[in-house]
């Protein structure tokens, strides 16, 4: 089976957030309580969360001495060799041949190692609920099985999100960059990051200026996490669920997914 992927072509993104709302709608995730904006520009909420698996960011950057407004998209990267899955002691996270990294909630014991292991800080824990699980973008695996495309890709008005075979999309990304060398930086984010991912991004400005995680090794995360995780004795796993309960007592502010009291964002 060919590995599927999403190509996020940021210069085509208009920051409309159709994708962000379509994702919430597809998974019936709750709206979060926000005040003003949670990040630069119109970003809301402040971060990915148990309820927000897709987040559009608004970045005011200088391009050739002029102010520009460039948008980014955060979601699970669907790593080829996912750190989250290799860290999971009970195989609650699974990499499918078709690309998606999916989550089996019935297996999950709530240890949250996946959260520590993910270089892109993607998986989140439902601290809000009495019976919490891990949540994250599924690459809409269930829609793919039904012959559809991810909800975000479907909603996007400008073709900024393309769904297809990973190999084909890499060639497409290279083609777009080569065809407009002034319009793109020569970097396909996700081609090599973390050993390669099934969400690929191309951009008009360096990815660090969009707040993308840059300190990701080029090799698969498994090499970094597996030895450490293998050493974890099973008894720790029971402890982790207790820790989960204490996390649930976090402050309201954190749950509101907001930066600081005043709403100041620098």
């Amino acid at each position: 089976m060919k590995t599927k992927a999403l190509l996020i072509d940021l210069p085509r993104c208009t920051g409309c957030r159709g994708c962000q709302v379509a994702c919430k709608q597809e998974y019936k995730r709750q709206a979060e309580k926000t005040t003003f904006f949670g990040g630069p520009g119109y970003q809301n909420p402040a971060d990915l969360s148990a309820e927000t698996w897709c987040l559009v960011t608004y970045n005011e950057v200088l391009v050739n001495g002029r102010h520009d407004w460039v948008f980014g998209k955060r979601q699970c990267m669907h790593c080829e060799v996912p750190g989250c899955a290799s860290a999971c002691p009970v195989k609650a996270l699974e990499k499918l041949d078709s690309g998606p990294v999916i989550y089996h909630r019935e297996k999950c014991i709530g240890c949250r190692y996946c959260m520590l292991a993910c270089p892109f800080v993607v998986p989140r824990f439902e601290y809000e609920t009495w019976n919490p699980y891990i949540t994250k973008c599924t690459m809409c695996a269930h829609r793919q099985v039904a012959g559809g495309i991810p909800a975000c890709a479907k909603a996007c008005p400008t073709g900024a999100i393309t769904f297809g075979d990973r190999e084909v999309l890499i060639r497409e990304a290279e083609h777009r960059i080569a065809g407009n060398p002034g319009g793109y930086v020569h970097h396909i984010y996700g081609m090599e990051e973390a050993g390669g991912t099934c969400v690929l991004h191309i951009s008009s400005v360096p990815f660090e200026e969009l707040g993308y995680v840059m300190r990701v090794p080029r090799s698969p995360m498994v090499a970094h996490t597996e030895p450490a995780m293998k050493a974890v004795p099973m008894v720790m796993l029971g402890l982790a669920t207790v820790l989960g309960a204490s996390y649930a007592l976090r402050t309201r502010k954190q749950r509101d997914n907001q930066p600081a009291e005043s709403g100041h964002i620098s």
């Binding site: 085509r12 208009t14 920051g15 409309c16 957030r17 159709g18 962000q20 709302v21 919430k24 709608q25 709750q30 709206a31 979060e32 309580k33 926000t34 005040t35 003003f36 904006f37 520009g41 119109y42 809301n44 909420p45 005011e60 102010h67 520009d68 407004w69 460039v70 948008f71 008005p157 400008t158 073709g159 005043s262 709403g263 100041h264 964002i265 620098s266």
Partner: protein, 799 residues
């Protein structure tokens, strides 16, 4: 729109001016993106760097309210540099027409101005006529009284330095915009102009659009694929509402409003039916009598007869101004006692909303028909109000949403698309048609018991049936069939016999003798048979790209008029019917087959037999036009509230615009900052729908003010701070968003600050906040009376 959404992909240059299309019409971006893929250059002109600007190749900042200077400068650039499509201009516009000696222009005023009434005598702006009554023309366009020469003199005043001194656009940026856009003068290069409320909501909003039309005509971009002047309507069905005569000054099909001076049908027709002595002019509006008679027959059926002027006397005749602000003022003065508010939220959406909210409190009763409680339906318990002091009796009727009823909507491209009911409306919610039907029944009953002038209501044709369902919803197909029109009696037309009750095949079949009825003549042909299968609005056939390279999809829905997808398409071909731009041919004359190919042409005549602009009595498009009350050419005036003296003339602001209360106008000394209002992608209009939708509230929960870092520093404001913004009318509190996307402008020799505020908020719904319309003024464009929401003066401080 003269063109349609899909057609945007054919443009070589897309100008987005007076619109934030990418944010407020996100699907426009879908088609403009396709144009970009084909190498199009996209230009964004806006006071603020928007998501549209980010999408564009070239951004021009400008001061809000200075569009005319901006565009006049481009017109001047085109005229000075011979960047006009000469043959198009010569044959398809009135550039060659000679003007009579009474027309003149000096120091900001056209001839015929009367200071006392603040109005023009437009008879001074007339053509010089030959003895047969046809305008004199000079095809060389060198005659000093030719429109082209008079234009050259008029526009020469708008050189780049002058323009940029007004608009605040950096000169090099402006020159580049002029160069890029006027490059579409070449017959095979096309420019598409997109606008929206950033254009219209000014004291000279109609003239803003005129300036676009003039430029597009000079460049030969009207009638072309990828061209046109395209209004992106603010609501999905706003096109439908104006088509059906919901504006105060028109009847369905853009027939004129009967005013008090038109007491009989013959005076109405005399005033409104244009005449032409030019045999080359189709002068389509000569059919006015057919359209109004058919409309009256649709309204009053057998009660409308030749003997009673087809019940013309039943139509109300207006006295004075009944535009939105005028209505609010009349409510405020106690002259209007009751209000039906269908999906409308004046407490948030109109200008000077404090006054609008007060006005609602002077009504005896108000009926709000909406999906939710709106700011208007709860105005009587708004913050700071004691409900016991308000006597207005308020009814809230729950309405069915668009997906909860069957019917049609007309999009900006004039495509009328049928919609099926997806789900049942919840609870007691009913369609608007059901609510109005009950109202008609109730009024009839009341009139049965007596009352003045009962006939217009008692004799009204209202036969939309009743569905078998529980509520007896009226049948939308019957409404659609009436809009299309039908024969009221047997009629022989060119040898074909039509029976009484037959659906009319198209507006060419409509009659002035009462033998046809038609609810909106421009929709005639949309439902030409008795069965649901005849409903062309419901067609859903995509065409094969090989056969329909322009993506006009003639069998997808139906568009008015006569399914013509691009208006004025006769101007896209030369005198022999061959396209100026063969690679994007809209229509083409096949000389062998003796027929037109492609889109439905503007009239069936072979090429050369009729002039292309068939809706004008001249037969050509008007670079010089007497249609607007504020001048035959667009002249720059400052917004009524402006930080500077008008550099163009001694006339500060539009000499004919309507200012309801001069005391409510602020001076720049007290209010030094330019403000504008706008919308965001995440909210919809006055917010009743989106401020009740948690996913959208999450994205943009609070009203905010965007301002430049410079201004923020000088006021000690940081992002996230609460600030107060105030004008002569009112004040609001909002969060500050300090952004480089707003920059100060260098205008009339000094730096001027601009800020912007989205206007979606009110005190009802999940997301609450102050409406930006607390700040805006009751000022109206003199042609349409649309309020000047987009440019006013304010000051602000940290709260």
């Amino acid at each position: 729109m003269t063109n349609h959404w899909i057609d945007m992909k054919h443009a070589d240059v897309v100008m987005i001016c007076g619109s934030n299309a990418v944010e407020n019409h996100p699907i426009a971006a879908h088609w403009i993106m396709k144009a970009k893929e084909n190498g199009a250059i996209v230009v964004s002109c806006d006071p603020r760097y928007t998501r549209t600007s980010a999408f564009s190749d070239h951004y021009c900042k400008m001061r809000s309210g200075t569009d005319i200077a901006f565009v006049n400068g481009m017109i001047n650039y085109a005229l000075q540099n011979d960047r006009i499509q000469l043959e198009y201009v010569r044959h398809y516009t009135n550039a060659t027409f000679l003007l009579n000696p009474e027309y003149g222009f000096a120091d900001g005023l056209f001839s015929g101005y009367d200071q006392a009434t603040r109005s023009y005598d437009r008879s001074k702006w007339a053509y010089a006529l030959d003895p047969s009554g046809v305008p004199k023309r000079d095809l060389t366009m060198r005659h000093p009284r030719s429109v082209l020469q008079l234009m050259k003199a008029f526009y020469a005043r708008y050189d780049i330095d002058t323009v940029c001194n007004i608009t605040g656009t950096p000169k090099d940026v402006y020159r580049k915009a002029c160069d890029v856009y006027t490059s579409t003068w070449a017959p095979d290069r096309v420019g598409c102009w997109l606008y929206a409320m950033g254009t219209t909501q000014h004291s000279h909003g109609t003239q803003n659009i005129r300036s676009y039309a003039i430029l597009q005509l000079l460049l030969g971009n009207m009638g072309m694929a990828g061209g046109g002047v395209n209004a992106m309507r603010g609501e999905s069905n706003v096109q439908g509402s104006t088509d059906m005569g919901l504006l105060y000054h028109s009847l369905p099909g853009y027939l004129g409003e009967p005013v008090a001076a038109m007491q009989t049908l013959s005076t109405y027709l005399e005033r409104l039916t244009p005449t032409s002595n030019d045999p080359l002019s189709a002068n389509w509006w000569q059919n006015y009598p057919k359209y109004i008679t058919s409309l009256l027959k649709a309204f009053w059926g057998t009660h409308a007869t030749k003997d009673n002027d087809f019940a013309y006397s039943y139509l109300p005749k207006t006295v004075g101004n009944h535009s939105y602000v005028a209505l609010v003022e009349a409510m405020h003065a106690g002259a209007i006692k009751g209000l039906f508010c269908f999906g409308m939220n004046p407490a948030v959406g109109g200008p000077n909303s404090t006054r609008a909210r007060e006005a609602l409190g002077k009504l005896e009763w108000m009926v709000a028909i909406d999906l939710f409680e709106t700011d208007s339906s709860v105005f009587w318990k708004r913050p700071g109000t004691d409900p016991s002091t308000i006597a207005t009796e308020v009814f809230l009727l729950p309405a069915a949403a668009s997906v909860e009823k069957e019917g049609s909507i007309s999009n900006s491209g004039r495509w009328c698309q049928w919609r099926y009911k997806a789900v049942e409306p919840p609870g007691d919610a009913r369609s608007d048609a059901w609510i109005i039907t009950q109202l008609v029944a109730g009024l009839r009953k009341a009139y049965d018991a007596g009352g003045a002038f009962p006939e217009p209501i008692r004799q009204l044709t209202w036969d939309y049936g009743q569905d078998a369902d529980a509520h007896g919803e009226p049948d939308p197909h019957r409404v659609a069939r009436e809009i299309n029109g039908y024969f009221t009696e047997d009629k022989d037309i060119a040898g074909k016999l039509w029976k009484a009750g037959d659906q009319a095949p198209g507006f060419a079949a409509l009659q002035a003798d009462g033998s046809t009825a038609c609810g909106s003549w421009i929709y005639c042909g949309s439902y030409p048979g008795p069965n649901k299968a005849d409903n062309r609005l419901a067609r859903r056939e995509k065409s094969d790209p090989a056969k329909d390279p322009l993506g006009m999809h003639p069998n997808w829905s139906w568009c008015w008029p006569v399914n013509r997808r691009i208006l004025y398409n006769r101007a896209s071909v030369d005198a022999h019917g061959q396209p100026w731009d063969p690679k994007r041919a809209v229509i083409r004359w096949n000389a062998d087959a003796k027929k037109w190919e492609g889109d439905v042409p503007d009239g069936p005549w072979p090429p050369g037999e009729k002039l292309p602009f068939i809706m004008r009595p001249e037969g050509v498009a008007c670079l010089f036009a007497v249609a607007l009350v504020d001048g035959p050419f667009p002249e720059h005036y400052e917004p009524v509230e402006s930080p500077i003296r008008n550099p163009m003339s001694a006339v500060q602001y539009s000499p004919v615009c309507k200012v309801w209360d001069l005391k409510s106008i602020g001076e720049p000394g007290e209010f030094p900052i330019v403000a504008t209002t706008y919308r965001v992608s995440e909210h919809w209009q006055a917010g009743a729908m989106t401020r009740n939708m948690p996913w959208l509230v999450e994205l943009v929960p609070d009203v905010f003010v965007e301002l430049s870092p410079n201004l923020a520093r000088s006021k000690g404001i940081r992002t996230g701070d609460w600030v107060r913004v105030w004008t002569k009318r009112g004040e609001l509190k909002a969060r500050a968003l300090v952004t480089n996307r707003f920059e100060p402008l260098f205008v009339a020799g000094r730096a001027v600050d601009q800020i912007g505020i989205p206007w979606h908020w009110g005190y009802a719904g999940i997301a609450k906040g102050d409406s930006a319309n607390l700040l805006t003024a009751n000022i109206g464009d003199p042609n349409t009376f649309i309020p000047e929401y987009k440019a006013f003066l304010c000051d602000l401080a940290k709260a």
